[in-house]
């Protein structure tokens, strides 16, 4: 059997464009066989000319046997459900299912508003989130490393994503009002809504596909944020989606809405799995790398041990690492004989993010002053308790910011200071 596949993604307002496309396929000898995951349509050669009708899902109608019987008597056979639409097929030349343009206009308004409500809720939530990010930026409040990372990692991604959403929302709104005017004109004249032209059909297809991949992008970003620590977590989220889907599906006598929700969960699971297989490794390879050396107190990695001294001399503990596409954050504490040190290090691909991290760290440690050694270094020294001195160095380069805190018996010796600063520079090197 010969098959033909294509993306079949349309937004709620483009009912007539979807119908016109199916009719063109029908006229060129292809009939719709099925639609997978509301995204990919499969066509098979038609043995007779067919035409299509795309109608709104309406529980009052399409769940009644007598409605389906009436459609069947009139020549229309139900083929597939696509989101908010039912797709019917009939021999070419069969009178359409909807013949009253005034009633069609009423249903268009009702159904589109109903679907757009969710878009408005999500869009509103997105704008609030963006406003919150902007507010955080304006406040410049000191934050700890992970919050800062989340903010700095999310702010640009969020801004780009919400910016795109805003553009898409505006384009969608303009297209909605254009469509509304067209349907209203048809209702006034009593004529059928005219079939969209080639340009409009293409616009509908591009807009619908972009819409679908917008949601894929969302799911991918959320999955990456939630499960960046390991592949198995991504798998876990996919399984959760599948389980929710099965739960919806297996309820006794599921309604059309529950069946749709079940389908939605399955789609989300497939996207998560696709993301896991295809995008996750790419995202991982794009992550900003962490510091190249594991210690502030020694150049010899063999002398450094994590959590337990063992044969090593230097203990490194409380190691925290958060990786992002734009920023990498590492912190650890270590001890070597009488000396104790801790490091907080940000490495970033963007200088603006490095600046933000630097300003935040400067605010978190009052008393830091530019050092004599160079413009990139700030330092602060204070008596911590008895004979223990706390010394803080803040080093800023193009690639990042590192803050080292040393606890030593007496002031830091020049040799140790030189070594520590050299290792901090090494941490921030490419």
């Amino acid at each position: 059997m010969k098959y033909r596949y294509e993306l079949f993604c349309y937004s709620v307002i483009d009912l007539k464009a979807a119908q016109a496309h199916l009719n063109r396929m029908g006229a060129s000898g292809w009939r719709l066989d099925r639609i997978w995951l509301e995204t990919v349509a499969r066509y098979v050669p038609a043995d007779r000319p067919v035409s299509y009708c795309v109608d709104w899902c309406d529980a009052r109608f399409d769940e009644n046997d007598d409605y389906l019987q009436l459609c069947a008597d009139a020549g229309w056979t139900f083929v597939a459900k696509q989101g908010y639409w039912n797709l019917y097929e009939a021999p070419a030349g069969t009178p359409p299912i909807q013949t009253d343009s005034a009633l069609e206009y009423e249903r268009f308004q009702k159904q589109v508003w109903k679907q757009m409500r969710w878009g408005a809720v999500l869009g509103g939530a997105g704008l609030l989130f963006l406003a919150w990010l902007l507010w955080l930026t304006a406040q410049e409040i000191p934050m700890d490393g992970n919050t800062l990372l989340l903010w700095m990692g999310m702010a640009p991604v969020g801004a780009v994503f919400f910016g795109l959403s805003a553009v898409m929302g505006l384009v969608g709104l303009a297209r909605f009002f254009t469509q509304l005017a067209k349907w209203r004109r048809a209702a006034r004249t009593g004529e059928p809504v005219p079939d969209p032209g080639r340009g409009e059909r293409t616009a509908a297809k591009v807009f619908g596909s972009w819409n679908a991949f917008f949601w894929v992008g969302w799911i991918a970003i959320l999955t990456h944020c939630l499960a960046k620590e390991g592949f198995e977590k991504v798998l876990f989220y996919a399984v959760v989606w599948i389980a929710i889907g099965i739960w919806f599906r297996k309820r006794p006598f599921p309604t059309a809405g529950q069946r749709r929700e079940a389908k939605g969960c399955m789609i989300a699971a497939v996207w998560v799995l696709l993301y896991w297989l295809l995008l996750f490794p790419v995202a991982r390879s794009w992550e900003t790398p962490g510091p190249a050396i594991p210690s502030l107190l020694t150049d010899d990695p063999a002398r450094v041990a994590a959590q337990s001294l063992g044969d090593a001399d230097t203990l490194r503990y409380n190691v925290q690492e958060t990786r992002g596409l734009l920023l990498h954050y590492t912190s650890w504490d270590e001890t070597d004989g009488d000396n104790q040190a801790s490091l907080s290090c940000y490495r970033s691909r963007w200088e603006a993010l490095t600046d933000a991290a630097f300003r935040s760290m400067l605010r978190q440690t009052p008393g830091l002053a530019p050092a004599e050694e160079g413009e990139a270094l700030w330092e602060m020294e204070e008596v911590w308790r008895a004979d223990v001195v706390r010394t803080v160095y803040l080093l800023r380069t193009e690639n990042g910011v590192a803050e080292a805190t040393l606890f030593t018996v007496g002031p830091v010796e020049d040799a140790l200071k030189t070594d520590v600063i050299r290792r901090m520079e090494h941490c921030l090197e490419e």
């Binding site: 109608d55 007598d66 409605y67 019987q69 009436l70 008597d73 013949t99 005034a102 006034r188």
Partner: protein, 107 residues
Amino acid sequence: MARKKLETLTEQMFYVLLALRTERHGYGVMQYVARLTQERVTIGAGTLYALLDRFEKDGYIHRTRTMESRKYYVISPQGEERLQQEYRRIRQQARDMERALGEEEPL
């Protein structure tokens, strides 16, 4: 255009009520209207279903029985009155048109 509750009957509404002066199921109505108007007026299955639902709610028709997933309807006295009222309006319109055409006749 959002229509007020059956203030006026559209052509399709008129023919549906007319068809239901005899008990019929949905597809029977479609066939009858197409035959009566010589295919000039066709009523789609979705449109008809919505109209039947609306007429039933407004009390213009009532369901008589269901057989093999087909619902049968017949017009109610209220629906008959509405149909007659529409018929009188259409006839009046036709008479007005004829009179207007007569006045335009050259003397």
